[in-house]
């Protein structure tokens, strides 16, 4: 534990430097924020049309308003759990030898990347908070009443855990670079599946049983589906507690997995030379 405390200032510094780096790419930032809304808006409109055409109040256990709120909320979840380029970056560092910099300097690659990503996420969330708030305000009619303090706490916890699961899952994928030369194909496949399996495309409840149960048993639901459901108030009481505990367990699993893969990978890496 003391080792962590000692190392903390170093990683905080990395956090600060990374934050600076992000702010430098200004045009990138402004443009990207505005453009990120478009697919959500079109998806919302599509679902409006679907409900309209069905002439039903509720589909897949979701009322129309809930569905729209869900689509907005998964965005928030993904803000925390998406790790673009993380797995690819790790695999690339292994492949072209830049991994060496982590071995030669007194720095732990995983801790470094967590600090780096944390900084990026903070910058991103800080700058998109305003436009998102605006968007949510415009759509406020669709949202259920604001959740109570307990549920809200649960929501925030689930988001932070989603960051961890997202990070360590992608990191573990990147570690595949120690064993396979070309990981990009694997990453494509996982990325494509993830979009569907995390619930970002549509809630797994829409998929007929038994497939919906399978999807809900997987950890990927925590990346988008679960936090959104918590906020919507569709996961209450003991279900919420159970869900969060399971999320903690999954996060721990992925942390352990990533660290193990890293250790084994390093052993293999040094055995074969850079």
């Amino acid at each position: 534990m003391s080792a962590v405390l000692v190392a903390l200032p170093k990683y905080l510094k990395i956090y600060r430097v990374s934050l600076t780096e992000r702010l430098v790419y200004r045009a990138d930032f402004f443009l990207g924020t505005i453009l990120r809304f478009l697919p959500t808006v079109t998806t919302i409109l599509l679902w409006e049309a679907i409900y309209e055409g069905s002439k039903k109040d509720e589909l897949g256990g979701f009322k129309r308003d809930e569905m729209i709120a869900y689509l907005l909320l998964v965005h928030v979840s993904r803000m925390f759990s998406s790790m673009p380029g993380l797995a690819y970056g790790i695999a690339r560092d292994v492949r072209d030898g830049s991994l060496k910099k982590y071995l030669l300097q007194p720095i732990d690659m995983i801790a470094y990347l967590v600090a780096y990503r944390g900084a990026h996420k903070t910058a991103y969330i800080a700058t998109t908070a305003l436009p998102y708030a605006l968007l949510f305000f415009l759509f406020r009619a669709y949202f259920p009443p604001f959740p109570d303090a307990l549920t809200l706490t649960g929501y925030v916890v689930s988001l932070l855990l989603a960051f961890l699961i997202g990070f360590f899952f992608e990191a573990s994928l990147g570690m595949m670079g120690f064993w396979f030369l070309e990981v990009t194909s694997l990453l494509y496949i996982v990325g494509a599946i993830n979009f569907f399996v995390s619930g970002q495309m549509l809630p797994p409840d829409f998929v007929p049983k038994p497939w919906s149960d399978v999807l809900k048993a997987l950890p990927f639901k925590y990346l988008a589906y679960f936090p959104a459901m918590v906020f919507l108030g569709k996961v209450r009481g003991w279900d919420l507690v159970y869900g969060l505990v399971a999320e903690v367990a999954w996060a721990a699993c992925f942390i352990v997995l990533a660290r193990l893969l890293y250790r084994w990978g390093l052993r293999r890496y040094s055995a074969y030379g850079g």
Binding site: Y25, A27, D28, L31, G32, L35, R36, L38, P39, V41, T42, T43, L45, L46, E48, A49, I50, Y51, E52, G53, S54, K56, L59, G60, E182, T184, S185, L186, Y188, I189, A192, I193, F195, F196, M201, L202, F206, V207, P208
Partner: protein, 266 residues
Amino acid sequence: MARYLRLLGALARYGLARELAFRGNLIAKVAVEGLWLAILLIFYLTIFQNTSSVAGWTEDRYLFFVGCYFAMAALVETFFLSNCNEFADLVRSGDLDFLLLKPIDEQFLVTCRSIDWSTAPNVLVGAAVMVVSLWRMHWPFDPLRLGLFVAMFLCGLGLAYGFLLLLTSASVWLVRNQSLYELWWLFSSLMRYPREIFQGRIVTPVGWFFSFVVPAMLVISVPADVMVNALDAKTVGFTAAATVVLLVVSRKVFRLALRRYRSASS
């Protein structure tokens, strides 16, 4: 001209030879594309399990729309997308110079340099889906409609290409451009659904914007409309005109970008 077509043929042949050298990777990419199509089809089926029409599009007609989308997106991804994405790197590394030295139109080289064969099968899949949907709705064969469809499909392709070219040219001015793949994903998300979904007080103007100012939503909607829904001469005319305008404007912007590159590079 014939010369450019021959060159394109040569580029396609050598591109294929190069991809086949990495067979495993190619197969994986094709598999992923197949997986993605499967997901979109599952989505489509799920929707129509719950409703019988979406913004006036019934199940079979919507399937035609989906097939049209597959084919169009696949054409853009096969011929243009990876080339345009590389442009930012070429600008940064200065390797764009090599393209500028050749006695070939720069726009052609930048946008058509290599062919991504992994998405090529999707064009056929998209066409197959369209054929299946036509068969299911017992579509009466109408050569006029078919001809108009092909024309509008090409216009849609032209619109998508023009937009892609504008985005590509932007890399010269923006120091670090958003990955073009991301921007293409955004554009293609606009064209993924029928534009009729933009109903309602607030969104109709937005729909209007993306149909007539930034004509993203016309790309698939119009050809699909022409084939399976009622014909609307005004929209068809507008689409054709918009395509021409966009192609001309995007070419001008591209040349401007090259000028800027050549003034700023060292």
